[in-house]
């Protein structure tokens, strides 16, 4: 009986040896793998923190430089924007502002009209404003009698209207119906043109 017991103990001891050996091996491998993997991550993170700290210093300097450069110009940009807004208010107003437009057209007529070089606006007919994609439109019709030279000047005025530094309301010719009066036999009516022009004057939506 005691012999069996001894052998049992001896076997148990051997089993323990194997078990502990195996456990130690498993533990060593798994812990080694886990630690190795995480150590790499940890080392990378630590290096990352160090690199980030240096990079943050660089960014702080850059931020200050960019801010300083912008702030040195911000006053100029504000002035420029005020100027643009002011000019825009003239050429591309927020409402149809047909009275200002009328005054502008009248001033243009006065500027062109001479006894030797005729430019007479006999009629201006403003129509109902319409809304388009990015803007609103005030259509109007003008009946004009003019010399050929002034007719061309009038076309140039409309074609170059809306230039930011011109202060002339943004316009666009939608249609022209034109008759040359030199078809008549009257010699003093030579080179005179009667035309009806349909114009779109633009304003902000």
């Amino acid at each position: 009986m005691s012999d069996v017991y001894y052998k049992l103990l001896e076997r148990r001891q051997k089993l323990q040896l194997k078990t502990y050996g195996l456990l130690c091996l498993i533990l060593l491998i798994s812990m080694g793998f886990y630690s190795y993997k995480n150590w790499n991550e940890y080392a990378l993170a630590k290096e990352g923190v160090k690199q980030n700290a240096n990079f943050i210093e660089v960014l702080r300097k850059q931020d200050t430089e960019v801010k300083t450069t912008y702030e040195s110009k911000v006053t100029y940009f504000s002035q420029l924007q005020r100027e643009i807004s002011k000019n825009l208010e003239m050429i591309f107003p927020t409402k149809d502002d047909y009275t200002s437009l009328t005054r502008q057209l009248d001033a243009f007529e006065e500027n062109l009209s001479k006894k030797s070089d005729l430019f007479e606006v006999s009629n201006i007919d403003f129509q109902t404003p319409q809304v388009k994609d990015n803007s609103s439109v005030l259509p109007f019709k003008m009946s004009i009698r003019s010399s050929k030279e002034n007719f061309t000047k009038f076309l140039h005025m409309v074609e170059s209207s809306g230039a930011l530094n011109s202060n002339i309301r943004l316009m666009d010719i939608s249609s022209i119906k034109l008759n040359f009066e030199n078809s008549s036999e009257e010699s003093d009516a030579n080179d005179l043109i009667s035309f009806t022009v349909y114009i779109n004057a633009y304003f902000q939506k």
């Binding site: 009986m1 005691s2 012999d3 001894y6 001891q13 040896l17 502990y20 533990l27 812990m31 886990y34 630690s35 995480n38 991550e41 940890y42 990378l44 993170a45 630590k46 990352g48 923190v49 690199q51 980030n52 700290a53 990079f55 943050i56 960014l59 850059q62 931020d63 960019v66 801010k67 450069t69 912008y70 110009k73 911000v74 940009f77 504000s78 420029l80 924007q81 005020r82 100027e83 643009i84 807004s85 825009l88 061309t152 076309l155 140039h156 074609e159 170059s160 809306g162 230039a163 930011l164 530094n165 943004l170 666009d172 010719i173 939608s174 022209i176 119906k177 040359f180 078809s183 902000q204």
Partner: protein, 426 residues
């Protein structure tokens, strides 16, 4: 004493051997020894001592040193494993933050994340100021560009006086220099990277980083714009408009590509004119809306001039007041329609021979050969008069402006009279 001897015997003899001796009671050798010496049935030795088996049960195999070492190793490994888990758990995850925060212990993962956030915030601040700057520069570019476009059109118009053309050409030189400075500044700003490198496994891809920084910048701008949204102050309104317009600049790849790939010095005035117009379509600001309207405008003065030039190619005395004496072409009316891009001209031809219809046919061909017009058509021809007084034929032509042609091309590309067919020049 007997017990002591027994114990000694037990101690000296292996109990397993003892058990084999016990079996030897029956061996003949021992029997013979006992019988020969006494001759009687007397035993020389006392009875063999009985072995206390219970004592044998307490005997264990000797302790194994290897097992001991393994046990110690196991313990050490377990402790090291727990320490490793705790260390890496506290450094690389937030699972043990409740402990580390209590003892104010550093967490490398949190530190990395915190420094990454600081980088994001700083880069967003840089981007914000850079885009505000870019917006200002592009506004200026648009403002100067508007002047450049107007002057370019004047300098290339065939109906503007030579004085005005010369002034505009001189202005173009100055404006070009200003545009160049402005363009280089804008290009420097827009070509900067919007993203900063981050040490983060989730943002290893450049595209992902760009998305992150663009989103952060947009959020920062929206935040600022929201604060100003309801303000009635003029400056605040302007700033609000600026912020909303900057949003369209942020991910404008086409604008960036155009600016980086363009060498302003190598552009001719015409190419620069086209480039400014192209930028006006890519940028959103207060000026671009009016530029889009201008872009669609038709320069009717150029169109009328082109009709005159084309007519002169057919009738060399056109516009010289010799109509009554020598005949030729005379127009009595034009009708232009911008929406339909159609042109109608009404007039008459007068000939002191019988070639009125040839003249009209030549005029139709010349108009169709023009770079601006197409589809000139007149299929019903009639004339009246006599050889003595001259024949008069009515001209009633309708044609269209070619698609995309809203003005005459610059002088170098305009209609060349020498290039027209012979019948036109004759």
């Amino acid at each position: 004493m007997a017990d002591t001897n027994q114990n000694i015997a037990v101690g000296q003899i292996n109990p397993l051997d003892q058990s084999s001796l016990q079996k030897g009671d029956e061996s003949n050798i021992l029997k013979n020894i006992v019988s020969n010496e006494t001759g009687e049935n007397q035993n020389i030795l006392e009875d063999a001592p009985e072995i206390d088996q219970t004592l044998l049960e307490e005997i264990e195999p000797p302790k194994s040193i290897l097992l001991l070492i393994l046990k110690i190793c196991f313990g050490v490994f377990c402790a090291a494993g727990v320490a490793s888990l705790a260390f890496f758990g506290s450094q690389l995850t937030a699972k043990l933050d409740f402990i580390t925060s209590r003892f104010d212990l550093p967490n490398i993962s949190n530190e990395l994340s915190s420094t990454n956030n600081e980088i994001i915030n700083l880069q967003t601040s840089i981007n914000l100021n850079r885009f505000l700057h870019l917006k200002g520069v592009l506004d200026e570019f648009g403002y100067i560009g508007d002047d450049f476009l107007t002057n370019y059109e004047i300098s290339n118009s065939q109906t503007v006086s030579s004085t005005d053309r010369a002034e505009s050409k001189a202005d173009l030189v100055k404006l070009r220099a200003q545009l160049k400075d402005n363009f280089l500044e804008a290009r420097g700003l827009i070509s900067e990277n919007i993203a900063a490198p981050l040490i983060d496994i989730n943002f290893q891809d450049t595209a992902q980083l760009d998305v992150l920084f663009i989103d952060k910048l947009k959020s920062a701008i929206n935040e600022k714009a929201t604060l100003l949204a309801k303000s009635t102050d003029e400056k605040a309104k302007r700033d609000h408009r600026n912020y909303t317009q900057i949003l369209s600049l942020i991910s404008n790849k086409e604008l960036k590509k155009s600016m980086i790939s363009t060498d302003l010095d190598s552009l001719s005035d015409k190419e620069l004119y086209e480039f400014v117009k192209k930028l006006n379509t890519l940028v959103v600001n207060d000026i671009t809306t009016i530029e889009k309207i201008k872009e669609k405008r038709i320069r009717w003065s150029d169109i009328i001039n082109e009709i005159d030039l084309t007519t002169m190619a057919v009738d060399s005395q056109y516009n010289e007041d010799f109509y009554d004496e020598l005949g030729g072409i005379r127009y009595t009316g034009y009708d232009f329609d911008t929406e339909k891009r159609s042109i109608s001209i009404v007039g008459e031809t007068k000939r002191f021979d019988t070639n009125n219809f040839t003249m009209i046919a030549n005029l139709i061909d010349a108009i169709n050969k023009s770079n601006l017009f197409e589809n000139a058509d007149m299929r019903s021809l009639s004339k009246s008069g006599s050889l003595a007084d001259g024949y008069v034929a009515i001209v009633k032509l309708t044609f269209k402006l070619q698609e995309g042609k809203n003005s005459a091309q610059p002088a170098d590309e305009s209609l060349e009279i020498d290039a027209l067919p012979d019948f036109v020049n004759n």
